[in-house]
């Protein structure tokens, strides 16, 4: 079971990335849950959602102590970094945040998601950069499932699909580079 907390600013694609990860898990026949935080945050403030992908049935859908944090900006990085489980992983968008978590029992990956997304062709694909990094690090879903789901979701928008595929690949590469 992997508990993932995705956080960032409204408009950064935090919720859509979370939903997409859940869809990928379901594509592989796994148990999944997706729980967005809602409220005034929905209107342009901070956004976050909890995604669980599991081999076994999921009891609590909450990620109060996530295994992985994907932080797309500095406020969400600093807000949620202390909650990550010991031994967990933090993927932080280095284009918009520092990477000092103040603890040494988690692995922090500093990935310049916005810059990589621009290179991939669209800044809006920053969420897919970090999703690619997540998949490479945790194998929560296979790359093949991810690509299949992208093809399915953007069936009428081949250009958007290609951008997202490039972003995913760039995320995978970024992690490999750091771990090398």
């Amino acid at each position: 079971m992997l508990k993932i907390l995705l956080a960032g600013q409204g408009g950064q694609g935090v919720l859509s990335a979370g939903r997409f990860l859940a869809a990928c898990g379901l594509h592989e026949g796994k148990e999944v849950s997706y729980l967005p935080a809602y409220g005034p945050e929905m209107r342009g403030g901070t956004a976050n959602c909890s995604v669980i992908v599991s081999e076994k049935p999921i009891a609590s859908p909450l990620c109060t102590v996530p295994d992985v944090l994907i932080a797309m900006n500095a406020p969400s990085f600093h807000k949620f970094a202390p909650r990550v489980a010991s031994g967990g992983i933090i993927l932080v968008n280095g284009s918009l945040s520092d990477c000092y978590a103040g603890r040494d029992d988690v692995r922090v990956y500093d990935i310049a998601a916005n810059d990589l997304a621009i290179e991939a062709g669209d800044i809006r694909s920053a969420n897919m950069i970090l999703a690619g990094a997540l998949c490479e690090l945790t194998k929560v879903v296979q790359e093949r499932s991810f690509i299949n789901c992208l093809n399915e979701q953007f069936v009428g928008k081949p250009h958007v699909c290609e951008v997202n595929k490039r972003a995913f690949a760039a995320g995978v590469a970024a992690v490999k580079e750091k771990d090398a």
Partner: protein, 357 residues
Amino acid sequence: MSKILLHGTEAICEGALRNGCRAFFGYPITPQNEVPEYMSVKMPQLGGVFVQAESEVAAINMVYGAAGAGVRAMTSSSSPGVSLKQEGISYVACARIPCVIVNVMRAGPGLGGIQPAQGDYFQATKGGGHGDYHLIVLAPSSVQEACDFTYKAFDLSDKYRVPAMILADGMIGQLMEPVELPPMRSLSDIPKKEWATDGRFGEKRRILNSLLIEPDVLEPHVNELAATYEEIKRNEARCERYKTEDAEIVLTAYGTVARICKSAADKLREQGVKAGCIRPVTVFPFPEEAYAAVAAQPSVKAFLDVELSLGQMVEDVRLAVAGKKPVRFYGRTGGNVPSEEEIVQQALRVLAEEKRI
């Protein structure tokens, strides 16, 4: 059939539509706006009726009319809106008009907040409006159950001619999970309602009414309702048990909170504490016998009731446990949800206190 990823609100709609619901009336309120939005698209596709009512009061009365005319009808709202509907709910209960009311609970009292809560348990299970009546109340804890229970609610409501309620907390509304949808039921498969005022009365006209002004007419009617509630208690009480067989501490909760309790029970077992869970699926009728049976187990030292309220269901738990074992309470309010770690701590505290005694 393969599973699809759905929001709790969408699952509620699909459960309704697939069991013949062809009329929906609602008014916007967070956190259930996805229900009327979804219905406004789907209902016309199925030849059904969708009306955005001018108020929750109007919406429940539109349900009264439509369901009274024999159509499976539903309304949905969240706590403050359900308070507004109580007048109409009392009327449909007395006139014995089957229908389904959805409450995606948010924090109260008053305008309260928009985050998940369970503060409407008393209102849902003890009547809610004026007079002696009950609803059949189902409390889903997953998106699959949100679909299945809504589907089932229409059959139960028709069977007993008692309105049914889906009592969901705000988390069910927002949660997305895989769902296996039931097949679309044919309308011709749904039993015809001879009592319905559809205008085609032939020999004997029908009246749907909640005014029985003669005491000697009203009293038998109320007694008849009470007899139906007793029948429902005998036939329809449902609950789910999780690892209670050898449990020393039994966590109890309904809705999504019950799932957090399950995770907490697993965590407690990792620490060597034998924990289990019991969850009412129907909160009216409350599954008293199942609770009594668990309470009678020698292994059980105490119950810990967890709610997103100041303690409402705990009263039914205490009545069912009937003093056999201590029943302790832990609640969060205001829209806050307890974490499994919090529940673990509370359970350990309760056990420590029991052992000291």
